[in-house]
């Protein structure tokens, strides 16, 4: 499983691996927002936590269909399914690789983009913390969506349609924590809820994803 994780990380960082693509997308979305709502600092500061969360979520979405589609095309998925590691482990390793190449860079990049959006000083720590707690859930849920649509030729759009509603609770609690943090309010409740969602998703969803892949391979 470690071997699989390392291979996926290596693939992502090689040419054409798409590493950094979602980070660039995140940057562009964030830059576009002031063009849409105007350059006034007060408004930007107020919506910054939400914009950064929505931006991170969309950037995460961008790379989901690569999780299994490439392995399906070149036959690796068949071979992995017949390999001596459980498919649940394969799915978990893939989700972790996705988080390390997408969620983690987004988390680290968000504070920088926060500067662009006049995020209040008190908000940076909470924004980073909420993303750190929430993005693993985004990766795991996204892996589930990718597993559902792996057999489809044009699954990309459907994948978004399936995954976005599942992202709602994570987004609500994550953005709420970041917003409360930037307004200097208590953040414990949303952060705990967020951690709870992530823990639950990480614990349960790999089983659902593995089941979906088995169905799609047969």
């Amino acid at each position: 499983m470690l071997a699989l994780l390392l291979r996926d990380l290596r693939l992502a960082t090689r040419a054409g691996g798409g590493f950094g693509l979602s980070l660039a997308f995140f940057l562009i979305v964030t830059v576009l927002v002031p063009f849409g709502v105007g350059p006034e600092g007060g408004i930007l500061a107020r919506i910054a936590p939400g914009i950064l969360w929505v931006g991170a979520l969309l950037s995460c979405l961008l790379s989901l269909d690569r999780i299994f589609a490439l392995d399906r095309e070149d036959g690796s998925l068949d071979l992995l399914a017949t390999a001596p590691i459980p498919l649940e482990g394969v799915v978990a390793a893939k989700a972790l690789a996705h988080w390390l190449t997408t969620g983690l860079p987004l988390t680290l990049g968000a504070p920088v983009l926060g500067v662009l959006l006049h995020l209040p000083g008190s908000g940076f720590a909470w924004l980073t913390l909420s993303l750190l707690l929430g993005t693993p859930a985004l990766s795991v849920i996204g892996t589930f969506g990718a597993a559902l649509t792996v057999g489809l030729k044009r699954g990309g759009l459907l994948l978004s349609l399936l995954v976005l509603p599942l992202y709602i609770p994570t987004l609500i609690f994550g953005a709420e924590a970041a917003r409360r943090g930037s307004e200097g309010l208590a953040t414990a409740t949303p952060l705990l809820m967020l951690a709870g969602i992530t823990a639950g998703a990480v614990a349960m969803l790999p089983f659902a994803s593995a089941a979906a892949i088995r169905v799609n391979l047969r």
Binding site: L11, R14, D78, P84
Partner: protein, 212 residues
């Protein structure tokens, strides 16, 4: 007995295509599945590999499972030959890839990214993957597609060595593999007959008479 298949029925897209297939493979034996296109060779192999459930029948597999090689080789274009092979070796809990590289004469290409290999070289790398799985039973789907005569010879040699060391191989192909000692099983007689009305066990056969 390494592989035993009894009265197996397999489906493709929910429709029975083969019925009553039975054969056995002992250590050191190779069996070649033959039959016209679409008869269900690939489906049978995938069923034996555990990628899809059989519709009926029984299979006895080695406890550690089988090594399956399908139409695609499972290679990553941007990884080198060594990296590709090391990855699969580690997945199967092995570490030494040198013998496999040697057997398929890939040493000279070891550092080259898979995307720069010719079709035949890719196929050889795919077959080298089998050697690092450490599995006794090989399930091969069209293993010699896009191989030239010399490479087919290499392949035959690798299979013979595998058989000699107590392994077994089940292969689907319609071209000559250069393995004259292998038994051949023609799947044509096992083609599933369209179920007589009301006779099939599946959901789709339960309807007859429902709309009279």
């Amino acid at each position: 007995m390494i592989l035993g298949v009894h009265d197996l029925a397999v489906t493709r897209g929910g429709i029975a295509i083969l019925d009553g297939v039975g054969f056995g493979l002992r250590a050191g034996e190779a069996l070649i599945l033959r039959g016209p296109n679409g008869i269900g060779k690939t489906t049978l192999l995938r069923t034996v590999a555990g990628l899809q459930p059989p519709r009926a029948g029984r299979m006895e597999l080695p406890p550690e499972g089988a090594a399956y090689a399908g139409h695609a080789d499972g290679l990553k274009a941007t990884l080198s030959v060594t990296e590709n092979l090391t990855f699969w070796a580690r997945i199967y809990g092995q570490s030494d890839i040198a013998p496999a590289l040697a057997a398929m004469e890939l040493e000279a290409l070891a550092g080259r990214p898979a995307q720069n290999l010719s079709a035949g070289q890719k196929r050889r790398l795919g077959l080298a993957r089998l050697l690092v799985t450490g599995r006794r039973l090989w399930l091969l789907d069209e293993p010699t597609v896009s191989l030239d005569a010399a490479s087919v010879g290499l392949f035959a040699k690798a299979v013979r060595r595998h058989l000699a060391s107590g392994g077994a191989a089940l292969m689907a192909t319609h071209i000559d593999l250069g393995l004259d000692e292998a038994r051949v099983l023609d799947l044509t007689p096992f083609r599933a007959k369209p179920a007589a009305p009301g006779q099939g066990g599946g959901f789709d056969d339960q309807f007859d008479g429902a709309f009279a």
